[in-house]
């Protein structure tokens, strides 16, 4: 158990604190706690997980006060191992060709690795989705190989193409939409990972696992041209 305590966050917020460290174990306990909280029917407007905290947002102080007591009692009884999240494991086709890999050369120079080595290091791991943040549907996936840990760009790029795959510090990500940003772009995926037309909205949910598989330019274009809907992506690329 990593759960530490429940703290106030102003007059409308509470923070469920799981310590100051960050790890997959802590994140799994957090994601299990979120499932557990759903059954408590707390009147929260938002329940926001991150590396080692859950922030709860209430409409007003009254709703918050009502929830503190329930939370204090229920968190005492909580055993994270009791809950297995129905997560998905994704295998995402990814193209590392130079036209998509805007910063591959920079990463190459930084670590003195060949392109092949970088691709191998990035594709050989299964990443855990810690949480979604920064922009709608943006997954924080970790941890990447220690050999690939690269600082953010010193001056963020003004326009990163949608579907770009980035690395920064210990994490890797996919940009759902065109955005400014400071991650090192090393590849691109062939479909959208955020959709307002599907109940899931975000392809990846906190707790999911993601693996990248290298595809050639022509395979990439073939998938791209299929214009997959979310249901088809889920069927084809997750288990």
């Amino acid at each position: 158990m990593y759960f530490k305590e429940i703290n106030h966050y102003g007059d409308r917020g509470l923070i469920i604190d799981f310590g100051i460290e960050s790890s997959k174990d802590i994140s799994q306990e957090i994601n299990a706690t979120i499932i557990y909280l759903k059954d408590l029917k707390l009147p929260a407007l938002n329940t926001i997980p991150s590396y080692n905290k859950i922030v709860l947002h209430f409409k007003n102080t009254e709703d918050k006060q009502k929830s503190i007591q329930t939370l204090e009692i229920m968190m005492k009884d909580f055993r994270p191992l009791d809950i297995k999240r129905p997560y998905k494991r994704w295998n995402i086709p990814t193209c590392y060709e130079p036209q998509y890999a805007l910063d591959l050369e920079r990463v190459q120079k930084f670590h003195d690795l060949s392109i092949q080595e970088i691709v191998n290091l990035h594709t050989k791991k299964i990443y855990y989705n810690y949480y979604i943040g920064f922009m709608p549907g943006f997954p924080y996936l970790g941890e990447i190989s220690s050999k690939l840990i690269t600082p953010r760009l010193s001056s963020p790029r003004v326009r990163i193409p949608a579907r770009s795959v980035g690395i920064a510090k210990e994490h890797t990500c996919i940009y759902p939409k065109v955005s400014p940003g400071g991650w090192n772009i090393i590849a691109q995926v062939p479909f959208d990972i955020f959709s307002l037309d599907h109940s899931r909205t975000s392809l990846f949910l906190p707790g999911d696992e993601v693996e990248f598989s290298k595809v050639t330019q022509s395979e990439f274009e073939k998938i791209q041209n299929k214009n997959f809907l979310f249901d088809e992506i889920i069927k084809e690329f997750s288990q």
Binding site: N7, H8, R12, L45, N52, T61, I132, G137, L196
Partner: protein
């Protein structure tokens, strides 16, 4: 059928409601009207507003009825005129209902000593919700209309106006509160007693680089003795975060869903609407409450 078009956008004209909730864990901000007190007050005048309000900042828009008739009410501190079809001009007051007929054009001038104004339209704007809300988040491109409104945007309102009787409410007093009680933020311990003393004893000025996402404050630097880079965590509107330059930012409605800057304090929920109305250049002060509430 009744319809009207936007004939002048003013500045930053968007559709807003009370917010989009239960999605912040997917990176979707709660958005919603910057000053939600005005929406509540307008609801007393136009009860069937369908949660579809127009929000503008500084300069109001013009709306022209293309077909049929509509009933609207304007909230905020601004002058309101209606140009009738025969070119006579009639001035109206905020928080009263205004009947507009085919050819009539409503024009709202600048917001006076405040920032945001609103328009409620009886029977709404004929829009479908997007993720259970009508609010526009222009940065994330989410909303019933996912961008600021443009000249020529036309809204069709099927239902006819229920009554031509003029309704009104007291409206809001422009109190211009500039002294805000704040609660300790999750990382208040990142700041020394001396820095906290500076925070509550020195004035801060609202910078012109302020928008629906946040108000940047000018004043003494609030530097942390620990770090200005924390592990990202969920953030709530009203939080006062401090990046490494020491210049605090009050996070507003289009909040980044998670953030990695330490938060020294957080405003009360009600004060978010109040601080939103303070124009750039306004000098404000903070007072720290002890937490237990």
């Amino acid at each position: 059928m009744n319809s009207f078009s936007i004939t002048r956008t003013g500045t930053y004209l968007t559709i807003q409601d009370f917010g989009r909730f239960h999605l912040q864990h997917l990176g979707i901000s709660s958005s919603g009207a910057m000053d939600q007190r005005v929406l509540k007050e307008l609801a007393k005048v136009i009860s069937d507003h369908q949660n579809q309000f127009l929000e503008f900042a500084y300069v109001g828009p013009s709306l022209k009825v293309q077909e049929g008739a509509i009933k609207v009410s304007v909230g905020g501190f601004c002058k309101i005129f209606v140009q009738k079809r025969n070119n006579t001009q009639i001035e109206h007051q905020p928080y009263t209902s205004i009947n507009l007929f085919e050819g009539d054009e409503l024009t709202i001038h600048n917001t006076i000593s405040s920032v945001y104004g609103y328009i409620a339209i009886e029977n709404g704007l004929g829009l479908k919700p997007c993720l259970q809300s009508y609010s526009t988040d222009t940065k994330a491109q989410i909303g019933s209309i996912n961008r600021p409104l443009q000249i020529g945007d036309t809204f069709q309102i099927k239902k006819d106006v229920s009554s031509w009787e003029v309704q009104s409410s007291e409206g809001l007093q422009n109190l211009n509160q500039t002294h805000f009680k704040v609660y300790p933020g999750p990382q208040i311990s990142y700041f020394s007693d001396e820095v906290i003393k500076t925070f509550i004893s020195q004035p801060f000025k609202i910078s012109s680089q302020s928008d629906r996402m946040g108000l940047r404050l000018e004043g003494p630097s609030l530097l942390s003795h620990l770090s200005h880079d924390i592990l990202s965590e969920g953030i709530l509107p009203g939080s006062i975060q401090v990046p490494s330059n020491g210049k605090p930012i009050v996070l507003m409605r289009d909040i980044p869903c998670t953030g990695g800057y330490p938060k020294i304090a957080i405003l009360s929920g009600e004060d978010i609407s109040k601080i939103a109305q303070l124009p750039p250049g306004t000098v404000i002060n903070f007072d720290l409450e002890s937490q237990s509430i």
